[in-house]
Symmetry: C2
Subunit: 224 residues, 2 copies
DNA sequence: GCAAAATTAATAGTAATACTATCAATTTTG
DNA sequence: CAAAATTGATAGTATTACTATTAATTTTGC
């Protein structure tokens, strides 16, 4: 992202928060330090009380922004996928060739994340680690169907669908474009996790990236 | 499985439990009803207290078998993967042709689960749902590296590695056999989840199965 | 610049969770 | 049949995940 986009705001479904954290200084500190603290402790060990201590504020004040830590995770991961959606749009808009476009999309969606200067209070590297380690906990719940109806996963579904369209544009005869898109998105988070914790289960590591693996896989699948 | 295997026992790393639940009637009831209750409530809402009430036993008695519910989940998922490993071994042992063997392996590992009469106190269908919904929570923790060293994920890693070997036997030039194996294992759980909760993100459903998707994907990748 | 409104902080309190400890009752076994 | 092991019942602790109330502080609108 560049300076032209300084005023960009990732828009997030209002039912996910009680009060928009972007609307106040405290709200931004909750998000900023929440990301750092979840990354440090893991989501399971993270509490609003601990976050309150970290930002020298009060547990009860945080509860005025988010109902509970589950919703806070939903908020953060929505932000992440919204951010990815912007990156994807900008990086692929002028590409005409469908194959090139798809490869670029996969690259954006599966690569190692770097800091984005456009969003001051968000550490995208830490947030990416949270998404790798915790995203699936946001939907692997008994409430998933209700929350899906509420639109909590809309951005992610839209993103997966964009990828699916690009897959179909390369090979309209390929019978599983939706499954391939979701496999790339969820699978790349998984490969990133494996390279950090279960090296024997992946070929990704110092020499090979998840992006290479998925670009190779997709090209071979669609161009044969 | 058949009657020849009546006395089969899935062996599980001793450091996962405090007392072998297979060694007593109470232990078996903990496992049997624990599976049903986790499937019913979801792992997050499951507690040993609730399980105690269900089996008309006491919370404190359950704690003598398992340190906590996390270890209980590790136990159950280990059992599941051990069971899959047996199925895989039996179903592929006499197949000579590497392509046929690999297809058979993918079928076994990704298909819809059916009841197995060999294991009385285990409801494999419910357990499969638990694995789909909860398995990733067992390793997406801050303790994953320590627990990996303790051997908590050995069976799963061995299974993934067997699949990797079969992939390499079909095409020794394919550069990402380990990643493909882990993608098939984790990806098929994910596709099963999607078909139940996010139908727009998958092509799997009434007419198409995750098995078909992954067999098609693998064949096309390795035979081109 | 000041009063009213909104926000935040501090404190207290509740119910549930995730255990541990103790001891009694029951069952198993040698 | 006595000793050992297992199980059940009860109680207790620290933490979590909140809600409620009120006071202090900050913001705003005129």
């Amino acid at each position: 992202m560049n300076d032209l986009l300084r005023n960009l705001k990732i828009s997030i479904n209002e039912s996910i928060y009680l009060k928009d954290p972007e609307s106040s200084d405290l709200g931004k500190r909750i998000v900023e330090h929440g990301i750092l603290l979840i990354n440090e402790l893991g989501f399971d060990n993270f509490t609003f009380k601990k976050l309150g201590e970290h930002i020298q504020s009060n547990e009860s004040s945080i509860y005025r922004y988010f109902e509970n830590k589950h919703k806070f995770l939903i908020y953060l991961t929505n932000w992440y996928w919204g951010w990815k959606e912007y990156q994807l749009a900008f990086a692929t808009i002028n590409i005409k060739d469908p194959k090139h476009k798809l490869n670029q999309a996969i690259e954006i969606l599966t690569r190692e994340v770097e800091e984005d200067q456009s969003f001051n209070h968000i550490n995208e590297v830490a947030l990416n680690k949270i998404v790798i380690n915790e995203y699936s906990k946001s939907y692997l719940t008994k409430e998933v169907d209700d929350e899906n109806k509420e639109g909590y996963f809309l951005i992610y579904k839209r993103l997966s669908n964009r990828l699916k369209e690009m897959i179909a544009d390369v090979n309209e005869g390929y019978p599983y474009p939706s499954s391939l898109a979701s496999t790339i998105l969820a699978g790349s988070l998984h490969q990133h996790f494996l390279k950090d914790h279960f090296t024997s289960l992946t070929d990704c590591g110092a020499k090979t990236s998840p992006s290479q693996y998925f670009i190779h896989l997709t090209s071979n699948l669609l161009n044969s």
